[in-house]
């Protein structure tokens, strides 16, 4: 136990001291800071100046209606500037062009004399191409106006018109089973914030797990190979049982990786709590007071559990691979299969985020190498039964124990084998010879 802590402590200290670790952590924290403040930064730059669009008036009254519509709208960045009619088309265009050149307006609208389906053709003229959402907004307005006009022509009352226009009411409800253990199936609903939060947590855990596995796994393998190639391994294996050595290293790396994540979480929380960001958060409807912790807590607990188990499973295997390679140059090739397996798990989870109950997800959540990724997704967003969760956790645990046992054996043998990477057959022979 003592030696385990010594190994873990040494691993942690050396890792925390490396420049690469410090710099990566700082860079990611910085990117997080910037990313989280981008919505606020955007509001800083955009909301002040509305887009001004000119409108050449004619006697139809459409221009005035459009102007009134935009004035009533609160969260729009479009402002209509009405230009009086200057009798001739040419003069009108000349004036509008002048304003466009002077930069007073972004573009101008003009109604053509020809009509399609009882509404004049609208022409938008500008120097830059029409922004997509601007076009949408303008089209919507004209559509409304047209409906209005047509309805009036058909003699519909405003009530009739409302019935025609009112949208179909559509609600989305997500069910999740909790407390099935207490007998009666109690069904609770997640509200919108909780849904968003569980989406966020699932996403975050899957990405963090993938990063953690890839980075820490590779680091563990690299360190072991380095110890082997620098031959310090010869002394290590004679001082400490190799199992202690391997798990000391894994625990050390786990602590490093988790503390890195905690730093990122702290950066995240601090940034969200900053006063200027609170407003932004409210705008996108994320009100934390709205969240029922009993809904979110199981997700967090399972996520942590799955993270830990996933880390353990992958890192023991990475350690085993690191131990059979003698030179760091050969390591990349040797860990390729592991990289692919973790990539597969990661992509299954990420691409299924919108369909967390598909057959692929359900089945792959029972494959231990994918469980950490896919089960996180299912628990967060899908609705797995409790037995499903525990079954997959059980399979995962069994695999960890089996994999850990095998890895320890490989490690014990591998660290003493130098030269070219041994084949499985050679490894088995060596295991027999070394009596491990």
């Amino acid at each position: 136990m003592n030696k385990l802590l010594t190994v873990a402590g040494f691993t942690i200290r050396n890792k925390l001291k490396t420049k690469a670790f410090i710099i990566t952590t700082l860079i990611i924290a910085l990117i997080l800071c910037i990313g989280l403040n981008i919505p606020y930064i955007i509001t800083l730059f955009s909301s002040d100046e509305p887009t001004k669009i000119g409108f050449l008036e004619d006697n139809s009254g459409i221009a005035e209606s459009v102007d009134q519509y935009f004035q009533k709208q609160e969260d729009t960045d479009v402002e209509i500037v009405l230009f009086g009619d200057k009798d001739t088309v040419k003069e009108n265009e000349q004036m509008a062009m002048n304003k466009l050149d002077a930069g007073e307006i972004e573009g101008y609208l003009q109604l053509k004399n020809e009509e399609v389906d009882g509404f004049p053709v609208v022409v938008y003229t500008s120097q830059t191409s029409l922004r997509f959402n601007l076009q949408n907004q303008l089209q919507n307005v004209f559509k409304l106006l047209k409906t209005d006009i047509v309805a009036k022509e058909l003699g519909l009352s405003s009530e009739e018109q409302n019935i025609l226009l009112s949208p179909v009411s559509f609600e989305s409800v997500e069910l999740s089973d909790t407390d099935t253990a207490q007998g009666g199936k109690q069904i609770e609903e997640k509200n919108e914030t909780e849904e968003a939060l569980s989406l966020f947590i699932s996403y975050a855990v899957i990405i963090l797990l993938f990063m953690g596995i890839m980075i820490s796994g590779q680091l563990i393998a690299t360190e072991i190979t380095t110890e082997k190639s620098s031959r310090v391994m010869e002394i290590l294996v004679t001082s400490v049982p190799s199992l202690t050595q391997m798990f000391g290293k894994i625990i050390g790396m786990f602590i490093v990786s988790v503390s890195q994540i905690l730093i990122f979480v702290a950066v995240l929380v601090v940034n969200i709590l900053l006063p200027h960001n609170a407003e932004v958060m409210q705008q996108i409807n994320l009100d934390m007071s709205n969240v029922d912790m009993t809904m979110i807590l199981p997700i967090i607990i399972y996520s942590i559990l799955l993270y830990f188990m996933g880390f353990l499973l992958y890192s023991t295997l990475f350690a085993a691979i690191g131990s059979i390679v003698s030179r760091t140059e050969d390591l990349g090739q040797a860990i390729m299969p592991m990289t692919f397996i973790s990539l597969a798990g990661f992509y299954i989870a990420i691409f299924s985020i919108s369909m967390p109950d598909s057959a692929l997800v359900v089945w792959s959540s029972f494959i231990p190498f994918f469980t950490p990724f896919v089960m996180t997704l299912r628990i967060g967003l899908g609705e797995p039964a409790l037995w499903e969760i525990w079954l997959s956790l059980g399979i995962l645990l069994a695999t960890i124990l089996g994999g850990g046992w095998l890895s320890a054996k490989i490690y014990r043998t591998g660290v003493l084998m130098y030269g070219k990477r041994p084949s499985i057959k050679e490894l088995r022979k060596a295991m027999k010879a070394f009596k491990v």
């Binding site: 110890e227 620098s230 391994m233 002394i235």
Partner: protein
């Protein structure tokens, strides 16, 4: 004291008499006592018929050896003779298929690692870690207290005159200095049993002397040292007992002096003033080499030496005459190099 012993062990009077007689014998025969001590009482490391079979070959074949406290035991052999495997078994890394290894009379346990020190042939330390950090780490892994290890480290650095390397990274040191650090790594935790594999390779003569002194001091301090090298002059200087391995078997084993005396003296050094002719006519003379001082003559039987001397005295003044005992180097080559010339 005898009365006390008597009481304590409840010996009958007859036994007491026998005891007194033996006691006196022992006192009178001091050499015998020391022999007893050496071969039975104080043996720290004992390999008994140790055999290790790898899949397609036998790496170590029924090897016996025992090392006492305060002894340096030379383990010699050509490359691939089984030295490293033997050492790895002593270190508990791999287990013998047959036979047993005893440490102070007991079998290997995990706790023993704190008493073992190892200087591997393939040197290795963490290149990017500070000397103090990694040596204290290695000492702690052996279950040694950090504080005491730090003190030992400083003492050793001072002894080797490299105190300034305490805070340096290993990769910044020269190869010779890395060797010193490596050596310290193997002894920082005061091991009882020290295994040195090619301890002095890659060092300049000054540093060889420095490390040799350290090894001798450890021996005098009671450390039991298993020493492997290809440099026979180091063995002759440091070791009293040796084993020579060849293709996994022990081909020669025992006290160096005794081994040497069993090998015939085959070299005659003759210092003369004039040229001498007629060596070839003496039976037993194999070859004659002219040297600046006179002649070096290889003979196949010791009697020839006297004939050579007679011949030389007839023809010239003899300033020097010596029948050399074989060097360990010669014995090694004879035993290992010559096929089946055991």
């Amino acid at each position: 004291m005898i009365v006390f012993l008597l009481k304590k062990s409840r010996l009958a009077f007859r036994d007491f008499v026998v005891f007194v007689i033996i006691f006196h014998m022992l006192i009178l025969d001091g050499i015998r006592l020391s022999l007893l001590e050496r071969s039975f009482v104080m043996t720290t490391l004992k390999l008994d018929q140790v055999t290790k079979q790898f899949v397609d070959k036998t790496a170590v074949d029924h090897i016996d050896l025992s090392v006492s406290k305060g002894e340096i035991y030379g383990l010699l052999g050509a490359n691939g003779a089984g030295k490293t495997t033997t050492m790895r078994m002593v270190l508990g890394l791999i287990y013998p298929d047959e036979g047993q290894i005893l440490y102070n009379g007991k079998a290997f346990t995990e706790e023993l690692t704190s008493k073992l020190g190892y200087l591997p042939e393939e040197r290795g330390l963490y290149p990017k870690v500070k000397v103090s950090d990694q040596l204290l780490y290695l000492a702690q892994l052996r279950g040694y207290s950090k504080k005491q290890a730090d003190k030992n480290l400083k003492d050793w650095l001072e002894r080797f005159d490299v105190s300034e390397y305490y805070n340096k990274k290993v990769e910044e040191l020269s190869k010779g200095n890395q060797q010193k650090i490596q050596f310290i790594a193997s002894v920082i935790h005061d091991p009882e049993i020290l295994i040195l594999d090619e301890a002095f390779s890659g060092l300049d003569p000054v540093n060889v002397e420095l490390l040799k002194g350290a090894v001798k001091d450890l021996r005098d301090g009671g450390t039991c040292i298993l020493f492997s090298t290809h440099r026979m002059e180091h063995v002759e200087e440091l070791c009293s007992n040796i084993s020579i391995l060849d293709r996994s078997k022990t081909v020669l084993k025992g006290n160096i002096k005794k081994i040497k005396s069993t090998f015939p003296r085959e070299r005659v050094i003759l210092g003369v003033e004039n040229e001498i002719s007629g060596f070839q006519s003496i039976t037993g003379v194999k070859s004659v080499h002219k040297k600046s001082y006179g002649y070096e003559i290889n003979i196949s039987e010791v009697e020839a030496a006297q004939d050579i001397l007679k011949l030389a005295m007839d023809q010239s003044t003899v300033s020097r005459f010596e029948v050399l005992e074989p060097t360990l180097n010669e014995i090694f080559i004879k035993v290992v190099g010559g096929e089946g010339s055991e």
